[in-house]
Subunit: 558 residues, 2 copies
């Protein structure tokens, strides 16, 4: 049997071989950190392909549905741009050009024959995180041990997206084990951030984040158990949605920690356009995933909730801003973004109050205890087939001495011990719900807070190996709250100067503070979260659209 | 500190003390097995109280809403009848007459003042399983160790029922630990079956089943993790519903195996009238329990699903009958009931095909492994406060040598081992869903099977200590399918003769067969289940109503 290293090398070579030679570009030198503009300037894309790939999801779907653009033309354009992205930030895993173009041609043929779209996502290329099995393709999920395992059928979500008329065309990079907020593994290596390649693209859906940011895909699917849709969305400056457990089907996809039934991973969209969030969720839910996946929640798309019927039709909402989580204070550009959103929403006629976090540290700790209960054994069993090393730190060239945030070393827990942590988590969910309800006294709308607005992390994308604190996202997984990511600004060292602080919560807070060096974070996107209640996807999408529109209006006025 | 025995004796005495002396009847001798008619004949109830307590839920709600009957009159009538039931079958735990009557008087006052009902369950007395905390009352759940623990607040469901205008008035008996299909504990002793007191009332909601069967309550709330609503409903000949996880709020209630997040206990109605199922579910769901309990599913009452809009409006359905589960063949009266339903539904114009069970034994085993993972420690930790013995068999006067179906003796599992069983269960859920979908080929309706009809157990209510096999109900908990219970007939030794069998699946099947002795089971109700998909409460209720109406029409014709 070949060594794990040989297996990985062969797989990577096979990936390289399927890239059409004529789509290779002259890559910029490694010293070029910001590569976000290179797809526009490298010369591979035609002017029409640039128009197509710069269009938002709503526009793409309209032009595809009207027949103005064919599925083949749109797929080809995004395909070429994805291959450019791959050469810039190493974001892809499986590349299946011919299959995708054949599917696009089928769609065009059907459209020509019937004059109608196949489904609500007709002709839209969609990239998929490297967990979503496609019949006949390998899914390695960053494990060398899974090289050579070809799927016998599609994941349920892949079937549904295809029924909706979408065109899956590439899969995207992940960290080995998925349980990491950056993206690197023993097969494909590391994905970098297109805004600044010395920074992480985030993880675990970091391939998606980087690809979508470069507009190499109009819409991708990531997964999120502790922030894995939201962290890369935030790091790369795009939109993302973490739905509640079961709203989007997970069946037939690969995963880590399978059988862990308490804090579930969920799939959600990562997209360059605000309209992509609704397009994805409405299409998937209207396909009735509960008839195909036993864990999918039988809950129809609720247009009334999307119209915010019970919330003054969205005219006067009350948002609560969480300035910090009580564990560590965010870096200056994050706080600047929060202030901008506060001013923008106030100007738009909404109420804005402060969100007081409760028990965030404990919720984060409980989440880690629950995952750690059996994670170490899970990772080892998976990796043992080839003996590939478990990557225990994401620090490049590390001697592995650095202790990482989620690499459980110990032997795990008994089931009874696990149950005690799970019980405590449920109790804290009840406490948090009461806390939310109690805000009715201070919103001025007669309702409790409509949504929380908070950082996605205490920092923008960090240098590789330094994204260590995920609790600004993970706490909402523990509570199963719906949460989206929207972009606000980017780090500008001229504005986002380092501000001295006298008082710190503790040594960790100080450490986070000291990480901030404006020049290091230059150009890093700054995104925030909109957080709503459990299974309130429709409401959260609508409120994210309201916030996003308000920000765009303000930006135009400025 | 007093011994556990003294604590239990004192608690039982306190219960006895709150029963109004004038409501004591002369109890029938122990040799009187069938006591179902005694409330009518004992002389305690006035003719009007008999009319009230014999009315169904729909009629009660209408007469209360029109002001024809007051809440005080209705509560008093059911109260008296509940106290009669207690003297016959020992079904109650907490008795709080004054509190309930005060609440009823408040409702009458509000109705008089406003001319309107307080809510959809205005004035309806509701009994509650002894897990549903009520502020200021003890909840022992069959544990001596919990005597003296007074609740600081209501369970969420109690709050919602009160908001809906219902009048909680008694709590009902359970087995110690809840994890048992019969009803006995060290405090209150054993609840018996009013149709035949030598038989079990079932469990764990056995107090509810017996009370509702005697019409001592028009509607009760039970809980169901493996059949605990359905088994007592079936044993006692009343209606019951096991909703899917989270459809009815569980927050603030006590429970066993807390923190076990994989196969969840759920609350559901147990009622003497078919109309009670919808009345309860619609009222609770319309109260938006997800705003009060983080585990309650945000899913509105779906009137279209109740109207079976996507299922030919219920005109021509396809039911699949599961004659046995592949593990043990039901007793003759159960099979007779299935045949009657088959003929009735066919006559009513529906299609009826056979349901082929798959993996039922493995699903039952996995369920037990998941519960056993930490159950032993859970029980021991709870009981250790007073040192009361864990009841390891329900056989009366047993020397404890008999091995019982769910009394885990061993040390439990590691979290990683638990995850492997949970993963396998999820895989089997996916397989079962495919199996269900595949029936589209044989239903003749263009849809997969609309509902399964199957036994609730291989036997009717058994002699005490002999209800050992719960997998006819438990398998649907593992799959999280919605399942109701409806009555069909009762055991008639003249018809339900013992039938010789030559071939047996295995020794266990033979043992179940040999248990059947017509005379022993005389008068035992025979009920069946209607089983639908996950979170299809509206559809299952509607289809149960269709089956029930067809049976009633047939019975009238005969």
């Amino acid at each position: 049997m070949p060594s794990w290293f040989d297996l990985a090398t062969d797989k990577k070579q096979r990936q390289q071989n399927v890239i059409p030679k004529e789509w290779l570009i002259t890559p910029p030198p490694a010293s070029t950190l910001n590569v976000i503009g290179i797809p526009e300037t490298c010369g591979l894309l035609t002017p029409q392909e640039l128009v197509i790939t710069n269009e938002d999801v709503d526009g793409l779907l309209k032009k595809l549905a009207s027949g103005e653009w064919t599925a083949v033309a749109v797929t080809t354009a995004f395909y070429k741009r994805a291959i450019i992205a791959q050469q810039l930030v190493n974001c892809l895993t499986e590349i299946f050009v011919e299959r995708a173009l054949a599917r696009a041609a089928e769609l065009d043929e059907a459209f020509k024959r019937t004059g109608k779209v196949v489904g609500p996502l007709h002709g839209l290329p969609i990239s998929l995180k490297d967990q979503l099995c496609i019949k006949g393709l390998e899914t390695t999920m960053g494990y060398v041990s899974w090289i050579g395992k070809y799927a016998e059928k599609n994941a349920v979500l892949v079937d549904i997206l295809e029924e909706c008329g979408a065109v899956p065309f590439v899969r995207t990079n992940v960290p080995q084990t998925l349980m990491w907020p950056e993206t690197s593994n023993n097969i494909f290596g590391r994905t970098t951030n297109p805004h600044n390649r010395s920074l992480t693209s985030g993880g675990s859906s970091g391939g998606e984040g980087a690809l979508v940011a470069l507009r190499g895909s109009p819409m991708g699917v990531g997964s999120d158990i502790g922030g894995s849709v939201r962290i890369p969305s935030a790091c790369c400056g795009v939109y993302g949605l973490r739905p509640s457990y079961g709203r989007v089907p997970y069946g037939g996809a690969l995963n880590s920690l399978e059988g862990q039934d308490s804090i579930l991973s969920v799939f959600g969209p990562i997209t360059g356009s605000i309209s992509g969030l609704k397009a994805f969720m409405e299409a998937v839910i209207k396909a009735k995933p509960w008839l195909k996946d036993p864990l999918a929640v039988r809950k129809k798309w609720d247009e009334d909730e999307y119209q915010l019927k019970d919330r003054d039709n969205g005219r006067k909402l009350c948002f609560a801003i969480m300035w910090d989580d009580g564990v560590c204070v965010p870096h200056p550009p994050i706080t600047r973004a929060l202030k901008r959103v506060q001013a923008t929403l106030t100007n738009a006629g909404h109420n804005v109050i402060t969100w007081y976090p409760i028990e965030h540290k404990r919720l984060g700790d409980l989440t880690r205890y629950i995952w750690e209960a059996g994670a170490s054994e899970d990772f080892m069993v998976t990796a043992s087939e080839t003996g590939e090393p478990i990557i225990s730190t994401m620090v490049p060239d590390s001697n592995e001495a650095t202790v990482a945030p989620f690499r459980p070393k110990k032997g795990g827990l008994t089931a009874y011990q696990l149950w005690q942590f799970q019980k405590e988590k449920t109790d804290l969910r009840a406490l948090y719900l009461q806390h939310w309800n109690s805000t009715v006294a201070s919103t001025g709308t007669g309702r409790p807070v409509d949504a929380i607005i908070c950082p996605a992390a205490p920092y923008p994308a960090t240098p590789h190996g330094h994204f260590r604190y995920t609790n600004y996202t993970t706490v909402w997984n523990a509570l199963d709250y719906t949460a989206s990511i929207f972009p606000v600004t980017t780090v500008d060292p001229a504005i986002d100067v380092k501000q001295p602080r006298e008082n710190f919560i503790d040594a960790f807070d100080k450490q986070v503070h000291e990480m901030y060096q404006p020049e290091v974070f230059r150009n890093a996107p700054v995104c925030l979260q909109v957080v709503g209640r459990t299974l309130d996807e429709e409401g959260v999408i609508a409120m994210t659209e309201i916030v996003d529109a308000a920000l765009k209006t303000t930006n135009k006025r400025l």
